[in-house]
Symmetry: C2
């Protein structure tokens, strides 16, 4: 790799002058500029970001920490973040935390060691000292405290929405899947759903789940139907769980949506391709990623922020696992 010095020598100027032209800072004569630019081109020079980062004590790097990119909800978030960051020439150092506090700390630690200028984190431990002591801006994504900058969907409202829509369409004995207790948004949804069901004076039962993994989803689906065979409506903890429930329901011969309605959460891309297609509460994952990135960029640039907690709207996506509602409601 050519260095600024090589360019300086070839152009017959000093490194300071080269620096000036590549950074477009300070005065430099048009002729010298041209000479330098030619040397740059000829040597195919591009500045060493590491040296820059060392000198300026800040890089063009952002840390992105997600629980598990293999969970279908997160790739969209990640993509949103990446697209926005890339527009501003920021690059992402990426890590999976597996919701493990120690792993998370290790990542944050190495982020810092690499001079990242900001962090986006989807964590269950936003109040960990590692974040509180951070001297660079952090935006919490999806799983989020209100005292720090964050982007999240309204889980509670999502829960209410799910319950409202499923009740409105006639379900009476509803199973609510309670997602992992340590995941706030999952609990928000759960609470919202329960709140609405109670308000409607209906009975419900709870199926407790402890992760969002694929394999276990199938087990919980089985458990649901074996323990609560009279269920005529399921509010799943997310689309994966919902897909598993749908799968199991069809397997044991339930008619969906005639006898059993199902509502998921997230609206992952595959939901619309299921048969029947999955009705769900959509969270705009991609947009959330973009928003988080945009917010972080503002924070980094110390631009004015209109709101540091950005709540994104949830939305009921009506598809095939819920019945049509009468025109008269």
């Amino acid at each position: 790799m050519a260095t600024i010095k090589d360019v300086a020598v070839l152009a017959g100027v000093s490194v300071a002058t080269v620096s000036r032209v590549i950074n477009e800072r300070g005065y430099v004569h048009a002729d010298t500029r041209k000479k330098v630019e030619e040397a740059v081109k000829q040597l195919n020079f591009s500045p060493n970001e590491v040296a820059r980062s060392l000198y300026k004590r800040k890089s063009k790097l952002i840390g992105l920490l997600l629980p598990d990119i293999a969970n279908p909800y997160f790739p969209q978030l990640a993509r949103g973040v990446e697209d926005r960051m890339q527009e501003q020439d920021f690059r992402l150092i990426f890590g999976n935390s597996d919701e493990d506090e120690e792993k998370e700390q290790d990542y944050i630690q190495t982020f810092i060691q690499n001079n990242v200028v900001g962090v986006i984190s989807s964590t269950n431990y936003p109040h960990s000292p590692i974040y509180e002591n951070l001297k660079i801006p952090v935006v919490f994504l999806d799983r989020t405290p209100l005292d720090s900058p964050s982007v999240y969907a309204d889980g509670r409202e999502g829960g209410r929405l799910a319950a409202r829509e499923i009740i409105r369409r006639g379900s009476q004995r509803i199973a609510v899947m309670q997602g992992p207790v340590h995941i706030r948004p999952a609990q928000d949804r759960f609470e919202g759903a329960v709140e609405m069901i109670r308000q409607a004076g209906l009975d419900y039962h709870v199926v407790q789940t402890t992760s969002f993994s694929f394999n276990e989803a199938a087990l919980w689906a089985e458990e649901l139907f074996s323990k609560h065979s009279e269920t005529d409506g399921v509010i799943a903890s997310n689309d994966i769980a919902a897909t598993a429930v749908l799968h199991e329901a069809l397997r044991i011969g339930r008619k969906v949506p005639e006898e059993l309605q199902i509502i998921g959460f997230d609206d992952i891309p595959l939901s619309s391709l299921l048969s029947p297609a999955l009705s769900t509460i959509r969270q705009p994952a991609y947009e959330m990623g973009r928003e988080a990135a945009g917010l972080l960029i503002k924070l980094i640039e110390q631009a004015p922020i209109d709101q540091k907690n950005i709540q994104m709207p949830v939305e009921f996506i009506e598809r095939g696992t819920t019945r049509k509602v009468n025109a008269n409601g």
Copy 2:
């Protein structure tokens, strides 16, 4: 952030000594070591990787370039790469290329500017000069040339396998979806499938697709059935396409697998949760990611390599979109 200098002052030694203890290199007296270690702890010091990287002209950073993390096949690959890299304390700078050669070059460029020590790339342009001129090791992933280190699944064999299994189960009028022409593995699968179908003396038709996107998948599925309504077997270009085909087939009342069999490609996590569950040709994405990472690490450490092209096995996963085969074959 505390620097090595702060530690040196606090411990009452020189920076050289501190460097020795944190790198466990050279002689240092037990007592001095203890003093230094205490200072390190007290100041919560951790070395600045940027400074290290500048001096040593190499970092602990790896560049990972994928077409689109939002495409369900890639998160698994990414996860495999990440897990393996993390074991060795390498971090990932991650980018989506959208199969755009220019975007790809930009990323490679910034990878280099950040002193990455290796690159893993899933690209359609492995012969681009940007790779050929790279002075650091590259492992091509999934989409891959044979003259460079690579990890890939045997697409052609996968295609054959899909055709063999669908024929064996009685499909006679097979539709083969030809994936995007610029994506090699997609073409390999296609060719393998066609080869086997021809060999069996059966007729087939081709449905051309130009991307692996969700939205378009539905369109191609429609096209397939409107143009070739007599089809009794579909070899899809991947699981997304297969899911769309399944969705459409059920929508128009085809009985799957009785009247119509479908085989996908990849075995993405959701495939087993479809109804009926999707029969598919599995590529071990996670393991491929791990292998690629392992190979790259060896390359970086200049360890001996037994083979620079690692072909991973494909496998027919029999589920519900294909019929059971008789015991007598």
